[in-house]
Symmetry: C3
Subunit: 231 residues, 3 copies
Amino acid sequence: MTDPIFVIPLWADLTAVALGGVQGAMFAAGFRGQRRLDFLGVALIGIMIGMGGGLIRDLLLNTTPVTLQNNWYLVTATAAALLGMLLAAPLAKLSGVIVGLDALVIALFGAFGTSKALALGLPLVPAVFVGVVAAVGGGALRDVLMGLPVAIMHVGSLYAVAAAAGCVVLAGMHAFGVPTVVAAIVGIAVTSVIRLLAVIFDVSLPEQRMLHRRKVAVETSAIAVIKPDEA
Amino acid sequence: MTDPIFVIPLWADLTAVALGGVQGAMFAAGFRGQRRLDFLGVALIGIMIGMGGGLIRDLLLNTTPVTLQNNWYLVTATAAALLGMLLAAPLAKLSGVIVGLDALVIALFGAFGTSKALALGLPLVPAVFVGVVAAVGGGALRDVLMGLPVAIMHVGSLYAVAAAAGCVVLAGMHAFGVPTVVAAIVGIAVTSVIRLLAVIFDVSLPEQRMLHRRKVAVETSAIAVIKPDEA
Amino acid sequence: MTDPIFVIPLWADLTAVALGGVQGAMFAAGFRGQRRLDFLGVALIGIMIGMGGGLIRDLLLNTTPVTLQNNWYLVTATAAALLGMLLAAPLAKLSGVIVGLDALVIALFGAFGTSKALALGLPLVPAVFVGVVAAVGGGALRDVLMGLPVAIMHVGSLYAVAAAAGCVVLAGMHAFGVPTVVAAIVGIAVTSVIRLLAVIFDVSLPEQRMLHRRKVAVETSAIAVIKPDEA
């Protein structure tokens, strides 16, 4: 069931890194008020989202991080983060761009994580786990370092579920002998579509909706408390 | 002094994973108000507590994570997390169950961490360190991802000290030639008993008591500030 | 371009661990009010700052953590943390000591990270990355576990930039055939001096200054809100 010949092509991996870098920087540049980051902070978030998924995957698989084997990953992530900062202002109104990029980045890191795990001989369930952690790990790291509530724990829109669905489909097709490239493409499509549909139709698990309403209330009160001193 | 034949038996490891999964999910399901988690969040916490200790141990030892080598670990952790969610409501009154499970889980991960480190030829001090980090790491990860103050840094009841005591006893007995299985059982007993006694008699290091009192005051004020907007 | 014979001498590595332990414990012991830590917490912070850089470096390089290969690292870090606690009270007025130690610790972990990465054959860009992450990683871990805003994301005084400058100089000199020991010494000097000058002249990137002003305002308001209940 293993497929030792399969290696994620460099161009595909760098594409994921670049999209992650752009998305991360656009996301980080969008912060206003206290959370506002300087250039370095925005670049760090871009690098983290671009490289985090691959690093976490390789740590879990106990392989030498491929993102550190050549200069291209870091150069790409940094350049993409700079591009993301430049694009943040003109595209601020188009929040759909960030959401769309985010869906694609999760899908790519999920598919690469599960594919590499399967190629290294991991069984189906842990291969899916590695994919999901690779997909959502970069974002969790970003939230922790920025002091934000971690999105996977409290988010609506079925974030981790979308990643898991794509990885399960990929691993399932792999088990039935479908070539990894085909399985990966289908898995990427499944995750992206579920994530986008979830955002568009505002789907969430029952508890989350309530949570969201409460959080807004708290944020409003926090702003009310802080404002007088800021003026 | 090394003991390369010793391997943690699968049933023992899966028992620790299952107990961790149940405990983590019961703990997470107990949150009310803003911190309330949906089903997915509760399951994630259960998986994290069940699998975190073993993952952190294997990362520190630079060995391929044993929890990802077969399907059973993830299946067990997930099933245990679901069970923990079901048990959370009927057992809500019996907070002793969560505390007891917690003591046993810390003890198991501590003992397995130190045993595996010694089996891989690590000296005594780092072997104890690996055990303590494996014991408390899952909980620290949970606290960070949930945005809670990290328990090991501020907790009463000598959390890390209990783990360390059991690991030191285990490593000491190992150094004197006691078979690993016997040393591990004694170490597990030492950690569990210390932790339970600490909770029962509310023992804490001097500073912690004061810290606790202050934290409650802050939480009360925070609730008072937020409530008006929530209504 | 690789230099497989180069190994960080044990005495140099232990010096970095000791300085990190002292600095971490002095830093942690300085907390007052709610953030006040007990003895165990202060020791944990010391160990984290002393050992964190080396652990993170070895995880990224997928090598067995050298800090766990003998008893000296943990013994040194723990003893240094205890020393740091004792020194915290008499040296509380001399905040320059903590800042100076901090600059040196960052410089040492950055230089050791980049040197080891180059010795293992990593290309220049990832070798610099490993150095920077090793330099700032221990502090980031401390901030996350203590629930503080992570300094590298929001800090003035060009924290990560100082680390990066030293690592770039080191890697550049290495590329031109300068012996690693010489390159490392120059790199350590560059990072230390930049960091100290940044603190002395209060240099920061444009956005950070504004951020700082706002944060102070928020902290003031938070204290104002909390105080009445604490009394």
